[in-house]
């Protein structure tokens, strides 16, 4: 009987102490983690919009303003199913007549090293620069993007993700 009670008491105390210390540690680092995430996002947006001054988030869309306060473009995240898992992409859109793609950048991927990972290289990525959305298809699909040899699935995943998410997001962009 006494042994039974001891079991419950010891396990409960251990769990209580664990939860409390985790709670304390989490609340003390929460701001730092959020800061890191914002810093990372700012850096990524700055890569696409080097002239960006600040950005405002509204419903998963980042409205990017220049230092003078002019709206220079939009950015949003897109996710595609690659060969080795999800590919996460940040898409920058110009604030022009046709809302052309400004630039894209791959935030995270787990593709095959040496083949699929080449989707992060400039040779592939720069094909998207300043293209209208209708050109964002693989060349075999009457588009203007050349797939990477040996990594068609990864290339296709990026192209599809950008295209689909663009069509989704463009409806809710407030100009």
């Amino acid at each position: 009987m006494k042994e039974n009670v001891k079991r419950v008491v010891v396990l409960t105390i251990i769990i209580l102490v664990s939860s409390l210390s985790l709670y304390a540690y989490y609340t003390s680092t929460e701001d730092l983690i959020r800061e890191q995430e914002t810093a990372k996002l700012t850096e990524e947006i700055n890569q696409i919009f080097p002239d960006a001054g600040r950005f405002v988030q509204k419903e998963d869309i980042y409205y990017v303003y220049s230092d003078d306060g002019d709206l220079i473009g939009y950015a949003f995240k897109a996710t595609g199913k690659g060969y080795g898992g999800d590919i996460s992409i940040l898409v920058g859109v110009n604030n022009d007549e046709d809302l052309t793609i400004r630039k894209i950048s791959v935030l995270s991927q787990s593709e095959t090293p040496g083949l699929g990972t080449r989707i992060t290289e400039d040779e592939f990525i720069s094909q998207f620069n300043n293209k209208p959305i209708d050109a964002i298809k693989l060349r075999s699909n009457n588009g203007e993007i050349d797939a990477i040899t040996g990594a068609t699935i990864s290339s296709n995943a990026v192209v599809n993700a950008v295209y689909t998410e663009y069509k989704n997001k463009i409806k809710s962009i407030q100009r």
Binding site: L11, I15, S18, L22, T29, P113, G114
Partner: protein, 204 residues
């Protein structure tokens, strides 16, 4: 002999090559030296602290609920490491991915808690943790060295985000044996190393 508690983890009771514990992260994260190093450090941290705490509590924890108690303690430590990496080393968190939280169920940690820390005093348990942890780190570095060299055709010495140097094999690096970066290559390399160590008996 406290020193023996430390040194046995390096060779005689090497967690990967002799005890054959913790194969899952070893297979998954040994694709590059950078990842192997980050993983090794995280395992050392968790292993040392979990051994210490479990050894201190060893007389209070009732025998039949010891496994849940160990798991709660280990999971707490792993969560702390996970939060710390997120706050201070976000890039490493990204490359280690899900394998960082999975240290919780790494058999090395629970294995040492059960086999050593729950029966021995704190100082010896800490030494055991340091030794086994460094043994794991060294084994990870050896595996990832071979895999990165053959699989990407070169080596990239980046430790915790700081780049120390780079080395590529001419000609070979343009067409490396990608196979070694894949899971299949990991099984092959670990299998061959295990066989080699067993056959030659260098680790005995």
């Amino acid at each position: 002999m406290p020193f023996k508690d430390f040194s046995k983890g390096l060779v005689k009771a090497n967690p990967l090559f002799v005890l054959v514990l913790g194969l899952c992260p070893a297979l998954a994260v040994s694709t590059s030296i950078e990842n192997a190093f980050g993983m090794g450090l995280a395992v050392i941290f968790v292993l040392v602290l979990s051994n210490l705490i479990i050894s201190l509590l060893r007389n209070m924890i009732p025998k039949d609920v010891r496994i849940p108690c160990f798991i709660v303690i280990i999971a707490t430590l792993v969560t702390i490491i996970n939060i710390t990496f997120k706050a201070y080393l976000p890039s490493l968190t990204e490359s280690l991915g899900v394998y960082l939280p999975l240290i919780t169920v790494n058999c090395i940690i629970l294995g040492r808690a059960e086999a050593f820390a729950s029966k021995n005093p704190p100082l010896r348990s800490v030494l055991d943790g340091v030794g086994e942890g460094i043994g794991f780190l060294l084994a990870m570095l050896l595996i990832s060295f071979i895999r990165e060299l053959l699989g990407s055709g070169g080596l990239n010495f980046t430790i915790l985000g700081y780049k120390l140097g780079e080395f590529t094999i001419p000609v070979f690096s343009s067409m490396p044996a990608l196979f070694f970066i894949m899971p299949t290559g990991a099984f092959l390399i670990i299998g061959l190393l295990l066989g080699l160590f067993k056959k030659t008996g260098v680790l005995r």
